[in-house]
C-alpha cells in the first residue's frame, strides 16, 4: 500500500514525537548520572551536564558490586534450573500425553496467574520455616521454582510444533521415551531454550519485590533492591541513583535490542 506524501510526513512526525516521549526518562537518567551533586540541584533533569563527570557512575558501581554479583547468581541458577525442568515437563505435556495430563498442565499454568502480592505472606512464612529468611539462598530457591510454569508453557507450545510423526517414527525405530527426548527433542530445542532463557533472565534481573521481602543485608540483596537503597536517608542523591539505574538497565537493554524478537516469541508463545 502506498501512503501519500502529507500523511507520510504526519506519520513520521507522530512516530518521532512518541519516540522522544518514550526516551525522555532514559535521557534524563543518562544526563543526571553524568552530573555532580551540585549541578543536579541547580539544573532541570533534562538539561545536559555542563561539567560531565563519571564519578557518580563509578561510585554507584562500587556500591553495587556485590548486589550485581548476587543478581548474576540468581539469574544463572534460576534460568538453568527452570529451563531444564521446563523442557522436560514441556516434552511430557506435549508428546507423552497420559490420562489427566491436560488437567495437570492447566494446574501448572495456573501458577503463572497467581499474583506475587498474594503469595508474599505465605512465602515469607515458608522461607522462615526452612530457615532461609534474609539469605540469598531463599531467592535462589524461589526463582528456580517460580520459573518452571512459564518455562513449561513456552516449551510445551513450541514442542507442539514438532510433528507427532517424529515421535511415532522414533518409537517404531526402537527409541524409548528418554532416548527420544535426548536424540530428537533436545536437538530441536534451540529456539525454545533461547526464548525461555531470555525471558527468565529479564524477569529475574528486573524483579524487585521478592528481594525486598526475603533478603536483608548488602551481602544478600539483589541489585534492584540495593539500588533503591542508593537513594540516601536524608538527601536524595539523584546522580548516584541514576548511575546505578544505568548499570542495572544495561544487560536487559542489550538483550532487548539484540534479541528482542525471541522475547516476543516467548510472550506470544509462537
Amino acid at each position: 500500500m502506498r501512503i501519500s506524501k502529507p500523511s507520510r510526513v504526519m506519520l513520521y512526525s507522530l512516530l518521532v514525537l512518541f519516540a522522544c516521549l518514550t526516551l525522555l526518562p532514559f535521557w534524563s537518567c543518562v544526563v543526571t548520572a553524568l552530573k555532580t551533586s551540585k549541578e543536579v540541584v541547580l539544573t532541570t533533569p533534562v538539561t545536559p551536564p555542563l561539567h560531565p563527570t563519571l564519578a557518580p557512575l563509578m561510585e554507584s558501581l562500587s556500591y553495587l558490586r556485590r548486589p550485581l554479583l548476587n543478581s548474576l547468581v540468581l539469574v544463572g541458577s534460576g534460568t538453568v534450573v527452570s529451563c531444564f525442568f521446563g523442557s522436560i515437563l514441556g516434552y511430557v505435556f506435549s508428546k507423552r500425553k497420559v490420562r489427566g495430563s491436560t488437567l495437570l498442565f492447566v494446574l501448572v499454568i495456573l501458577g503463572l496467574y497467581i499474583p506475587p502480592q498474594v503469595q508474599l505472606i505465605p512465602m515469607v512464612r515458608v522461607i522462615s520455616k526452612i530457615g532461609l529468611h534474609g539469605d540469598l539462598g531463599a531467592l535462589v530457591l524461589l526463582y528456580m521454582v517460580f520459573g518452571i510454569p512459564m518455562c513449561t508453557f513456552i516449551f510445551k507450545t513450541l514442542y507442539d510444533e514438532i510433528p507427532d510423526s517424529f515421535i511415532r517414527a522414533a518409537k517404531v525405530d526402537g527409541a524409548g521415551t528418554w532416548t527420544i527426548y535426548r536424540r530428537i527433542i533436545l536437538p530441536l530445542s534451540v529456539i525454545p531454550f533461547v526464548v525461555a532463557a531470555l525471558l527468565q533472565v529479564t524477569i529475574i534481573w528486573n524483579d524487585f519485590i521478592w528481594g525486598l521481602v526475603l533478603t536483608t543485608g548488602i551481602r544478600n540483596l539483589p541489585v534492584t533492591v540495593a539500588m533503591a537503597n542508593l537513594k540516601g536517608s536524608f538527601v536524595a542523591e539523584w546522580n548516584l541513583q541514576m548511575g546505578g539505574a544505568l548499570w542495572i538497565a544495561l544487560p536487559t537493554l542489550i538483550i532487548f535490542v539484540f534479541l528482542g524478537k525471541y522475547i516476543m516469541r516467548g510472550y506470544g508463545a509462537k
Binding site: P163, S165, R168, A169, A170, G174, A175, I184, L188
Partner: protein, 368 residues
C-alpha cells in the same frame, strides 16, 4: 519376515467405533494394500499393527507370536515389535544428516559402527541416494525424502513393513515412478508389506491383494482382478475403477414370461445365465452395475438397447470418457474414438450382458 494375522480387531474412541471386528490375514512376503476413503479406519489398523495404538478387542499375530491381545493383557510395545513404518510426512529428522536419519534405528540398537556404515551405504545404493548421505534433509525434494524414509525403514531388516500413504505428498509423475520402484524393492527384499492409501489406482497397481475398507470394517479382500471383475457389493464396485462403475437403480419384473430389470426409462431384458440366476432371487429392488468400458455406443438401435444423449466428452489420452444421460440418469462410457459422436446428439446404448452386475439395492450386496 513374517506373516500377519488380525482377528476381530475393534478400536473405539469413546463412543465412536473406528474399526469394528476386522479380520485380516497377510501371508509372508505378500504386499497387501489397505484402501478406503479417508476416515474409514485404515490408518487405525496400521497404527494398531505397529503398536502405536492400543486396541479394545481382538488379536494381532506376527507369525506365531501374539503381539496384541487386550483380553489376555498382552501388548508388545512398538519399540520391541521389529516393524518398520513409513509415514505420510516421512518424519525425517531435520537436525540429522541423511546418513544420521537412516542410521538412527541401528544406532539405537547399538549396532557396531562399522556395520552401521556398511548397511546404510547398501540401503542408500539400492535407493540411489548414496550421493546425498552427507546432506541435511532441509534442502531435499519430496522424492528424495521419501527415499530416506524408505531407507530408514529397510536398513534394519524388519519383520513387517508398514507404509502410511507414503506417496501422498509426491507429484503425479513422481508417484507413478515411486509406485513401480517400491513394488520392485519389496520383491527384492522379500518383505511382508502393508500399504495404506485412499487412492484406488495405487492399490490396483501395487497390491498382491487389496483390502477395501469402509466405515471401520472390511468390505472385501482379494486380488486386483477379483475386486475389479467380481465386486462383492456396490461400495467396492464404485470405489475400484476410474471412472467408477455405473449404477442404475431398477426393479426386477417379468416381461412376456422373461425376467427383466425395469430401469424406469427402459426395460432391460435378461437372458441365459442371468435369467436362471435371477429366478432364485426374492428381492425386487436392484441396482444394475456396468463398467464404463462395457458400454457400447451405437448409431442405431438394436435389441435390448436404449436411447441416450451425449452430454459431455473428455479426452483422457488414448481414450475418452463419454458422459451420457438417459431420462435424467447420468452414466459414463469409455471409447477409443469419438469422431462420430457430438455433444448433444442422440445415440443408442447397450450393455454387454456377460459383464453386468446386479446388486441388492437395500443391502448393496451383489446378487450375481
Amino acid at each position: 519376515m513374517a506373516s500377519l494375522t488380525i482377528k476381530g480387531l475393534t478400536k473405539r474412541y469413546g463412543e465412536i467405533v473406528a474399526v469394528e471386528k476386522l479380520d485380516l490375514e497377510v501371508k509372508d512376503k505378500e504386499f497387501v494394500v489397505l484402501v478406503g476413503p479417508s476416515g474409514c479406519g485404515k490408518t487405525t489398523v496400521l497404527n494398531s499393527i505397529a503398536g502405536l495404538l492400543e486396541i479394545n478387542e481382538g488379536e494381532i499375530w506376527f507369525g506365531d507370536e501374539l503381539v496384541t491381545a487386550p483380553e489376555r493383557d498382552i501388548f508388545k510395545i512398538p519399540q520391541k515389535r521389529e516393524v518398520a513404518m513409513v509415514f505420510q510426512d516421512y518424519a525425517i529428522y531435520p537436525h540429522m544428516t541423511v546418513f544420521g536419519n537412516i542410521a538412527f534405528p541401528l544406532e539405537i540398537r547399538k549396532v557396531k559402527k562399522r556395520e552401521i556404515e556398511a548397511r546404510v551405504k547398501k540401503a542408500a545404493q539400492l535407493l540411489k541416494i548414496d550421493n546425498l548421505l552427507g546432506r541435511k534433509p532441509k534442502a531435499l525434494s519430496g522424492g528424495q525424502r521419501q527415499r530416506i524414509a524408505l531407507g530408514r525403514a529397510m536398513v534394519r531388516g524388519p519383520r513387517i513393513f508398514l507404509l502410511d500413504e507414503p506417496f501422498a505428498n509426491l507429484d503425479a509423475k513422481l508417484r507413478v515412478h515411486a509406485r513401480m520402484e517400491l513394488k520392485k524393492l519389496q520383491q527384492e527384499l522379500e518383505v511382508t508389506a502393508i500399504f495404506v492409501t485412499h487412492d484406488q489406482v495405487e492399490a490396483m497397481t501395487m497390491g498382491d491383494r487389496i483390502a477395501v475398507m469402509n466405515d471401520g470394517s472390511l468390505e472385501q479382500i482379494g486380488t486386483p482382478v477379483e475386486l475389479y471383475h467380481n465386486p462383492r457389493n456396490t461400495f467396492v464396485a464404485k470405489f475400484i475403477g476410474s471412472p467408477p462403475m455405473n449404477m442404475l437403480d431398477g426393479t426386477l419384473v417379468e416381461k412376456n414370461g422373461d425376467i427383466a430389470i425395469d430401469l424406469g426409462f427402459f426395460v432391460y431384458g435378461l437372458s441365459g445365465r442371468m435369467k436362471e440366476l435371477t429366478k432364485k432371487v426374492k428381492m425386487l429392488k436392484v441396482a444394475l452395475g456396468v463398467r464404463p468400458e462395457e458400454i457400447a455406443i451405437m448409431k442405431e438401435g438394436t435389441k435390448n438397447s436404449f436411447e441416450a444423449k451425449v452430454v459431455y466428452m473428455e479426452l483422457v489420452g488414448k481414450e475418452s470418457n463419454v458422459h451420457l444421460e438417459a431420462a435424467g440418469n447420468p452414466f459414463i462410457a469409455i471409447r477409443t474414438s469419438t469422431q462420430d459422436l457430438k455433444v448433444g446428439s442422440k445415440v443408442w446404448v447397450s450393455f454387454d450382458e456377460q459383464k453386468i452386475h446386479i446388486f441388492d439395492q437395500e443391502s448393496g450386496k451383489v446378487v450375481l
